[in-house]
């Protein structure tokens, strides 16, 4: 039962002897660059669609992310390696890893612009149009993932700007504030709109998360600007800054490529939002930090995040799935995030879990028993949807009242 969570054991980062997996750890460096190829798939699919006059090609990037990465995860399996302390010191500040991110951000925009050009300059069926818009949506979703990694580096202006450019693609300009100052602070508590509750479907969650995240970001930024003696309605507001990038880009795309851009960009932005809701939904489902005697919540620990340690999806998602280490140490760069022993584990990579989350009954049947295990049968220790409470207590609560 390697995947089973043992609540009484301390979660620890797995240590490898330096010789273990050293080839893989070295080649991993280049695999990150290889993952940039995925960002070029829209260009390839646009080329094939036009030269073969076959619009179905426009679905390629969208299908690859879900089916392709899931299949590759099955083939290549888990990533057993963790960088040694010496290796962490060596690579944590290497420019190479940052440059990959800086290349990725303009590639996202390039791919979306090329897809926009192709769907407006050739005749396609509505179905092919949808494929192109969803493939562009995948770029917006990737932008959120990149913006996440970059946005955590709060002391590096270049990375902060790149985060804004990546997030502007989906119009999620409030993400960095909401995520760093809101989600990381409140994670795995009922107060966090970006942590899902046991018994809450993804559809119910998104209705709480999307407006809740926006309100929290707006309040946090307004409070910061108030301390600085500046108006929240000024260019100092980082939410407004990114919104202006989005607005400029969208207006230009509509001006150049016509009204078809309106549904196209609506799908792109909606897809970026949905991908983030999906990630937030699966990353902390049901997990709850306990309150200490002082009334404060315990600090976020590795057992408060769901992890997946599959090689391929982790390369593509910049180790987002090593989520316990990320929440324990949010400023750690992606290339040095470690897998932990004895933390809550998902049975598949995030892309496949996003699909399962679309079907609440399947999701509940897989995840609810895992949550019950995690809480050792004490449903009081679970982040619970109030409406699902009676039902989940009846089915899973194993502690005498």
């Amino acid at each position: 039962m390697a995947n089973k969570f043992e609540p009484n054991m301390l979660a620890t980062a797995r240590a490898n002897s330096p010789a273990d997996n050293s080839t893989w750890l070295t080649s991993k460096k280049y695999c990150y660059a290889l993952s940039l190829v995925v960002l070029l798939l829209p260009l390839l699919s646009a080329y094939f669609a036009v030269t073969n006059n076959q619009g179905l090609w426009l679905w390629l990037p969208f299908i690859f992310i879900y089916a392709g990465i899931t299949l590759l995860d099955k083939v290549f399996g888990d990533d057993e390696s963790n960088p040694s302390e010496a290796m962490v010191e060596e690579i944590k500040n290497q420019a190479y890893y940052k440059i990959i991110l800086f290349i990725a951000v303009p590639l996202l925009w390039l791919s979306v612009i090329v897809l926009a050009y192709v769907i407006t300059h050739y005749e396609w069926s509505w179905f092919s149009f949808l494929g192109a818009a969803l493939s562009a949506g995948i770029m917006a979703a990737t932008g959120v993932n990149l913006g996440h990694e970059l946005g955590h580096k709060v002391n590096d202006n270049a990375q902060q700007l790149a985060a804004q450019l990546a997030l502007a693609l989906s119009g999620y300009g409030h993400f960095v504030i909401e995520h760093n100052k809101g989600h990381h602070k409140d994670v795995a508590t009922p107060e966090d709109p970006a942590s899902s509750r046991m018994g809450e479907s993804i559809y119910k969650f998104a209705q709480r998360e999307i407006p809740g995240a926006f309100r929290r970001a707006r309040a946090l930024e307004a409070a910061r600007l108030q301390r600085l003696g500046k108006s929240p309605w000024s260019v100092h507001n980082e939410i407004i800054q990114t919104a202006l990038i989005t607005l400029t880009a969208y207006v230009l795309l509509i001006a150049f490529f016509g009204p078809l851009m309106i549904p196209f960009l609506a799908i792109v932005a909606a897809y970026g939002y949905w991908a983030l809701s999906s990630a937030n939904y699966i990353e902390h489902y049901g997990l709850l930090r306990q309150k200490e005697a002082s009334g404060r919540y315990e600090r976020c620990k590795p057992q408060h995040s769901w992890n997946s340690n599959h090689k391929v999806s982790n390369l593509f998602l910049l180790h987002l799935q090593r989520h316990s280490d990320h929440h324990a140490h949010p400023t750690r760069a992606y290339q040095v995030l470690r897998d932990y022993n004895n933390v809550p584990k998902l049975h598949a990579g995030y892309p496949w879990m996003y699909i399962l989350a679309l079907f609440p009954n399947i999701w509940f049947s897989i995840m609810d028993p895992k949550i019950a295990d995690w809480a050792q049968g004490d449903m009081h220790k679970v982040n619970m949807d109030p409406q699902a409470k009676d039902d989940r207590f009846r089915r899973y609560h194993r502690i005498a009242q």
């Binding site: 409070a223 404060r296 600090r299 140490h329």
Partner: protein, 57 residues
């Protein structure tokens, strides 16, 4: 002027420097920082978690 270190990410709040981006200008005393002040780098810890450190660090 005193310094306080985040036990998670090693960010140091230096009263001489404050946390300007977050709206606490240079010279803001630790005593004037609110209890729910999160570490401005990692946002995992809050003021009560910070550890006072020697001035020369």
């Amino acid at each position: 002027m005193a310094k306080f270190e985040c036990p998670d990410c090693a960010y140091i709040y230096d009263e001489n420097k404050g946390a300007a981006h977050e709206g606490y200008p240079a010279g803001t005393l630790w005593a004037k920082i609110p209890e729910d002040f999160p570490c401005p780098d990692c946002f995992v810890t809050e003021k009560p978690d910070f550890i006072a450190i020697a001035d020369d660090k």
